[in-house]
Amino acid sequence: MALIEYRDALNQAFAEEMERDPNVVLMGEEVAEYDGAYKVTRGLWQRFGSKRVMDTPISEAGFIGMGIGASMLGIRPVMELMFWSFAAVAWDQIINNAAQVRYMSGGLINCPIVIRGPANGGTNVGATHSHNHENFLANIPGLKVVCPATAYDAKGLMKSAIRDNDPVMFMENTLLYGEKGEVPEEEYLIPLGKADVKREGTDISLIAHGRAALTALKAAELLAAEHNINAEVVDLRSIRPLDEEAILASVRKTHRAVYIEENKPFCGVGAQIASMLQEKAFDDLDAPVLRISSMDAPAIYSPELEKKQLPRPLDIVEKVLSIC
């Protein structure tokens, strides 16, 4: 296995799928000649040319809508939002056109589009640039939502997302682009809708998605080292479709759970999972399902404080100790 950056894992996924299917086309601001604002599409314009890798103006509603329209005719656009935060200006195109045109046409149309880009706080770029939309988008029937935490997951899930015949909202993370992980040389795919138990444990389930899954892993190490608590870490990877079975299996084993995410708390993904758990595992739970989210305010700029606004390993340890 090669040790490569998360961004390069994505880059490999694009290249492989573009080789495989001439209808796959990459579009977005600065994705071509500039190699991508975060270099995720590095080298692809040189390799595949201007027809397959296209720079767009700063017109998210326009170009996302253009991609959706093209996907209705069988093109498979992979659209970059330089930040997922900018989805706000293309919101209508995403939630009405991509998500609902299949339904409104009684199944005559489908939109094999991937919309991707980083969705995270933690880089001191202020409130407008630090939104996490995954809870919103997963609320919308018709959309699929994926949040990989590692290079391995990013590549395998991206390849599945591109081949998927429904619109997939693919959420990356600028803080993870430079993280290295093991990625096999041979081709592999990871199905959407399969969680990954990133650490086996017996005492409590730390359930998370996106970068928070890595924070949970760090917390699990601390819990083991300092508190003799053996935590299991379940990384959802895909929010919709959701691997409820994996979550329930873990909690039925550990009887305790904490959900960790970088979303804001009100109606976050953690709310959905906690609500599901108390309903479907009521008698298995020895304590309430607790939740850790980003502190409930717009993302602060101040670098020292933004660190505190997002879930940290010690925040998780503290929550866990309150119920273990």
């Binding site: 326009g62 253009m66 329209g69 199944g107 149309i109 015949n165």
Partner: protein, 360 residues
């Protein structure tokens, strides 16, 4: 005025695209307009009989636009429009049955009763809807045309929109990209003078016309009158040729008029934001069906009897469609959660992995 207008009409009849029409083709154009009108009138009746819910936006008065434009479509030309979509649907060849059944919310509807009046679709006929969000279809139209170019097909996408829709920003984002990337999209502004209860002058600031806004994006644009279907065809043909031969966009504004309110619920459309005389004037002097009929009668292409016949046939077709719709079954309760995900509908491996629906 009258003779000038007539002179103009004659001109458009002489343009190659119109002069080469056979008698049969001319009658077909008229028939299509009449079919739309009869369908709309029947749907209004059925709406009043409470056979359907939601909105109903009628196309009466605007028939020459949809029929004129669609009559020029080749195999690789595509159409997309807004919520006032029945005319375009019938023009591309959708049946009255499937359209009426859709209005009734029946399983035999073109969208299985899921879309309703605003959301008719027939991808097999290059018809991509029927869209309820004002101007939301404008980037989609760009995307259809993009796909044609990407595939190397000589085609165009005609994207229809209202005069009110020009004030949604995504239209301008689309215009810029259409010009920048040389995309063969044709934006057709059906300017019927009103967006709901707001007249053109109260909704838009412009110079000579709305289409002129395309000038600043360096896009070819034009304006024409929708009264005469030949004028529509002549102007659209130019745009289609530009799309096919140069892969360039066009914005074309067509002056037209709607006889009914914005939707059936619009109580103020006569005597409120517009006066009865205005409507009557249009019906008397600008009705595209009457004007084209008169022309065909005058030139001997059609007899009054033939007209009666085709009109009766359209009426009967609409009545039959209403009966078909009425007798069709409503969709099953299970169907509510079908047609959401392609992969789930097909029960592929992706569709069977993980939970897709969350009613506990």
């Amino acid at each position: 005025m009258a003779s000038a207008a007539k002179a103009k009409q004659l001109d458009f009849a002489k343009t190659p695209i119109n002069s080469k029409l056979s008698a049969q083709q001319k009658v077909r154009l008229l028939t299509e307009m009449v079919r739309i009108r009869r369908f709309e009138t029947e749907s209004l009746r059925q709406y009043q009989a409470k056979k359907m819910g939601g909105f109903l936006h009628l196309y009466n008065g605007q028939e020459s636009v949809a029929v004129g434009c669609v009559s020029l479509m080749g195999d690789d030309d595509h159409v997309i429009t807004a919520y006032r979509d029945h005319g375009h649907a019938l023009a591309v060849g959708m049946t009255m049955n499937e359209c009426m059944a859709e209005l009734f919310g029946k399983v035999t509807g073109c969208s299985k009763g899921k879309g309703g009046s605003m959301h008719f679709f027939a991808p097999d006929k290059n018809y991509w809807g029927g869209h309820g969000i004002v101007a939301g279809q404008t980037p989609l139209g760009l995307g259809l045309a993009f796909a044609l170019k990407y595939k190397g097909v000589k085609g165009a996408a005609m994207c229809f929109m209202g005069d009110g829709a020009v004030n949604q920003g995504c239209f301008y984002e689309s215009l810029n990209m259409a010009a920048l990337f040389d995309i063969p999209v044709i934006y057709i502004i059906e300017n019927n003078g009103y967006s709901m209860g707001t007249s053109l002058a109260r909704s838009s600031s412009f110079k000579s016309c709305l289409a002129e806004r395309a000038e600043g994006f360096n896009i070819a644009w034009g304006q024409c009158n929708g009264t005469d279907i030949y004028e529509v065809r002549a102007n659209v043909q130019t745009a289609i040729e530009r799309a096919h031969n140069e892969s360039k966009p066009t914005v074309l504004e067509i002056a037209t008029y709607r006889y009914y309110g914005h939707s059936v619920a619009d109580a103020k459309h006569t005597g409120g934001y517009r006066q009865k005389e205005e409507i009557e004037n249009y019906k008397q002097n600008h009705d595209p069906i009457q004007i084209f009929k008169r022309r065909l009668l005058e030139e001997g292409t059609l007899t009054e009897e033939q007209y009666e016949q085709l009109d009766e046939a359209a009426k009967a077709e609409a009545a039959t469609a209403a009966q078909f719709a009425d007798e069709s079954p409503i969709p099953s309760e299970e169907s509510i959660t079908q047609d959401v995900y392609f992969e789930v509908d097909r029960q592929t491996e992706a569709g069977r992995t993980g939970k897709h629906f969350f009613n506990s």
